[in-house]
């Protein structure tokens, strides 16, 4: 493993057991994350994209050990997090942070901004009360808000301002790796661009590495360095943003990109390839390639054999018949 890898997962899985309890019903397993091997490199923005239920949020949480993996490993700069005891893990948590989607639900409405920002500082023993106060003011200014706002409550802010507060909280203890889970999805476009610019500036200033989880491919193309595409618990394609958008290898990636509405009426196309049918249930996965029931190119082998993620000219794809072949 090279030194510039910040987060590294090997065969990571997270399964949920549903049903089979006291009230009966068959016991079933949801394979939310099902064998993911990924390296996230220092100072990059790695985007994780896919439709709802594909496991992208669960993968982000398992990387931070906010949820325990069912099997496999997650390493942070070479240290396997999966085997760590609570105390050591809590010490590392200040390096591993998350910014949530909903700026309304992720801030305690009964705490002032100053308390919201000082809580992570106190729990990691940042310093004296005065030092903590100064750091909170510094954090607010770092995200473009005035220090006077420390005394205000979350309801006094707009959605964009709250998201800035959520970012300030994540940055309190000078993290190394930040998971942004749909962090700009709830914002209006004019505000979304402001927050993305802020995230980019902070990344440059503070040498941050981002895992950027989103369903919005347009934001990915304009913001991410590399992209992983997830489908039903698996990463089916990984590549640099430009390669992936210019020349998708997996049919799912291609169809996902074709479905994005394009803000140009001259490109209006009724003849674009359209994904058929619905996402299969994660409790009842198709045999062979999980995508074969929706894939326009599926052949016999796709119904029986599950393709592995394989390297291909510095990219990776899990498909028996990648699109350039």
């Amino acid at each position: 493993m090279t030194e510039d890898v910040v987060i590294s997962t090997r065969d990571l899985t997270r399964h949920f057991h549903v049903g089979g309890g006291f009230l009966g019903g068959p016991a079933r397993v949801v394979r939310a994350v099902d064998g993911v091997t990924l390296d996230i490199r220092a100072r990059e923005t790695f985007a994780l994209v896919g439709e709802s239920g594909c496991g992208k949020t669960t993968l982000g949480r398992v990387m931070l050990r906010l949820q325990e993996p069912s099997s496999g490993t997650v390493a942070y700069r070479g240290t396997d997090l999966t085997g760590l005891d609570e105390a050591t893990m809590n010490g590392l948590r200040k390096k591993l942070q998350i910014v949530f989607q909903d700026p309304y639900a992720s801030l305690n409405p009964r705490m002032r901004v100053g308390e919201i920002l000082s809580e992570p500082l106190r729990s990691h023993g940042f310093g004296t009360a005065g030092e903590i106060r100064d750091r909170c003011a510094e954090l607010l200014e770092m995200v473009g808000l005035r220090r006077q706002y420390l005394r205000n409550y979350p309801h006094q802010f707009s959605g964009g301002q709250r998201q800035r507060i959520g970012i300030a909280r994540a940055l309190a203890n000078r993290p190394d790796f930040v998971v942004c889970d749909e962090s700009v999805s709830a914002l209006d476009v004019s505000i979304q661009a402001q927050v993305l610019n802020l995230l980019a500036e902070l990344q440059d200033q503070l040498s941050l590495t981002y895992l950027f989880i989103t369903h919005d491919l347009a934001v990915v193309r304009q913001f991410a360095d590399r992209v992983g595409v997830m489908f039903l618990g698996r990463v089916v394609e990984v590549g640099t943003t430009e390669e992936l958008f210019a020349r998708p290898l997996h049919p799912y990636t291609m169809l996902l990109m074709a479905a994005v509405p394009r803000p140009d009426p001259r490109l209006r196309g009724r003849d674009r390839p359209m994904m058929q049918g619905e996402i299969p249930s994660p409790m009842n996965l198709p045999s062979g390639c999980r995508f074969h029931t929706r894939c326009p190119f599926a052949r016999e082998i796709c119904r029986t054999e599950d393709p592995a993620l394989q390297d291909r000219d510095g990219r990776a794809v899990a498909c028996h018949f990648p699109l350039d072949g």
Binding site: E51, S158, V189, S190, A193, A200, R221, F223, R262
Partner: protein
Amino acid sequence: MTAETILSVRGLCTDFSGDRGNVRVLDDVSFDVGRGRIVGVVGESGSGKSMTALSLMGLVPQPQGRVSARSITLDGRDITRLGPAGMRGIRGRDIAMVFQEPMTSLNPVRRVWEQVGEPLAIHHGLGRRAIRARVLEMFELVGIPEPQTRLDAYPHQLSGGLRQRAMIAMGLICEPKLLIADEPTTALDVTTQSQILHLMRDLRDRVGTSIILITHDLGIIAEMCDEVNVMYAGQLVEQADVFSLFETPSHPYTRGLLASIPRATEPRAGRRMPSIPGMVPNLARLPPGCRFNPRCGAAMPVCLQRDPVLTGIAPGHAARCWLHSPNGDRT
């Protein structure tokens, strides 16, 4: 108004009164919808786009909300003074609405076919057998697979995409003159969204339904609409056919919006994206003059003093901006 016009709205204003006095959430909104056209209403949160739909449907909460208009003409008939009973008579029959969240807009404890067929019971007094048969036809029309087996399903047994198809079936079941779709795909995944948008276009082509499509997504506007109304802080700020809007946007807000949308079709332009500074004003504390002036890069002294009116720039293209009415013309 031409014979082609199915809906004509003139001077629509909606006010809410509360503890802190009166707030005007819609200010002098006027637009037309032609027969078989898809007309977009686009704006950010708080711009008034959903309130426009609720006002037209007679669904603004009473008694806090008050709707007034010089006229609202639906297929030649003024519906401004119909009152609650009169509105009940046309809602679901002449104008129908599809909401954003297909889960919360369906009753979880009633079978889907009963809900989808309810407008037929209310407006046409049909019996259960006739309704069930008609719902089955509608399910086929909106592309619900295995429609026969879905009739007796409960909403939670359908996926989000199927629920939204069922909602569209309900909206169209009385063959309304106008369908208002308020963010109909916002809660859906992008692949399901493209299926639903395709369905709406297809229904317009085959059935000739006129549609008002409310969205925050300029990509959806570009894919779907014939004409577009851009809203900001309760006012229409630009009105144009879809090509003029995207090719010669005239209001600085529209220009800013078009510049700040991330595009999946173009390589990354740079580390920084263009954005509109500041934020949408609070409707209870509007700035004097043009509502957009605190965020506008082109603001002039007049913009801080007087509210511009919607001014024609080209046939079918108008903007509410002093840049386009240099002499302060009031049209």
